[in-house]
Symmetry: C2
Subunit: 273 residues, 2 copies
Amino acid sequence: MATGRTHRPATRSRGIPEATVARLPLYLRALTALSERSVPTVSSEELATAAGVNSAKLRKDFSYLGSYGTRGVGYDVEYLVYQISRELGLTQDWPVVIVGIGNLGAALANYGGFASRGFRVAALIDADPAMAGKPVAGIPVQHTDELEKIITDNGVSIGVIATPAGAAQQVCDRLVAAGITSILNFAPTVLSVPDGVDVRKVDLSIELQILAFHEQRKAGEEVGAPEEAAGAAGAVPPPPVTPHRAPSGASGAPGTDSGRQGPDGDVPAVMPA
Amino acid sequence: MATGRTHRPATRSRGIPEATVARLPLYLRALTALSERSVPTVSSEELATAAGVNSAKLRKDFSYLGSYGTRGVGYDVEYLVYQISRELGLTQDWPVVIVGIGNLGAALANYGGFASRGFRVAALIDADPAMAGKPVAGIPVQHTDELEKIITDNGVSIGVIATPAGAAQQVCDRLVAAGITSILNFAPTVLSVPDGVDVRKVDLSIELQILAFHEQRKAGEEVGAPEEAAGAAGAVPPPPVTPHRAPSGASGAPGTDSGRQGPDGDVPAVMPA
DNA sequence: AGGTGTGAATTCTTTCACAGCG
DNA sequence: CGCTGTGAAAGAATTCACACCT
């Protein structure tokens, strides 16, 4: 994998499945809600419903953490909140830096859920000199030149990249060089990082495309024409093995979006892979 | 659901694994970049690297779509771009509505990558009357009252929820009632929807928590204290089976979620720049 | 009774490794 | 030869279903 290796020597049997780790925050959120309502205990069934999973999965997940429930009763909400928080490392404070204070970066900076879970925006960084000093969400934006110093001084280990795609890898490299070991990438690019650095990505475009896939399927099946959708007509346009031609012409393929370079605040994307 | 058994390897398989579907957008992006650089063909190895996966996985993924490569040569970039686009349903235009035009909603509306892939922001909707008429990203915001009409009139089937958590389910219900069948949820809540409706969620907080988990593990392992239980930090604080009492006292469990925002005070966030 | 905790069975993914076509 | 396409093996993740504790 070019993007951060998830391969871990599993030095210990204490290994919690990745799929389980990804669900812990979900349980935590549901538990927090129950806690606020002063609910003392929950059964796996109730909690599972609140978290949007099935009870068997939830119990199995919890079994990796330990036996924190009481048979015949359920789980103690407060206790479980604590255990999961600890397991996720939320009992400590994580300073975070956000690089790229555009529309998205600003939205992230203003995101309340940030502080509510042990994360603290330690700094906002942007390459635009005009942004420097300007406060966003109450925090003054600092120039990229300060990046290394900011990270070092604040002992930041988690960085959020919200820059245009074209600048992402470069920013990533600097973050890593400065000591960051976990990155949340919002830029539509594959980041390559050295071993030991984790990268998680969030991409609106990808999510929408996945939805479109299913949406398209629904439409086709609804019509009762399971045979490769409308394709029937002029489908299967381009020759399968001919040298190389663009699908152009043919059917109603919309002007094949050949430029994903979004104007409007977007940026130069092209970058040496 | 009409489960079309995956019998023989018909050129068009009904069942493309979900994991594969989730990667198609990644391949598409890499291919688009190659296309822009006028690269005619790519080997599975090259494309895999560009997409951040390994070649075996990529070839297997493509095998579900059909045999679009040429042995000894590789894949025709343009041809593959077309095939994947078609498979993802991007050869058609998908009108999308964004509900909740706060910081995040505005950022999403301004996101260039939107239009570049067959998606078109058909409307921006917000519950705040003061927002009505005000243009965001060149599109006038409409009031929630118009929601149903907007969706019906524009034949929208994909909705993006960027409202506070407290309003999400309600908005979701209305979207679904109005005909939406695919939802991208940015609100930190589990949405319940009827069968047939797809929901994908994006949650900044969850991603950060997952990173924190790994980050914490790195730190511990680095110290050379792999044995978890080793009461590393403050030891195993609260009793495991005692009635039910918060982790309170003991150790330094930081005010867990001190200053937790009000009910629906926070909004999620996410998306690429 | 009422639920948890979990081995076992099942299903989904990833990885191997190699036959075979261009 | 080089590289794709793929059965088959290996590894996760999910689901079953039930023994077992309170």
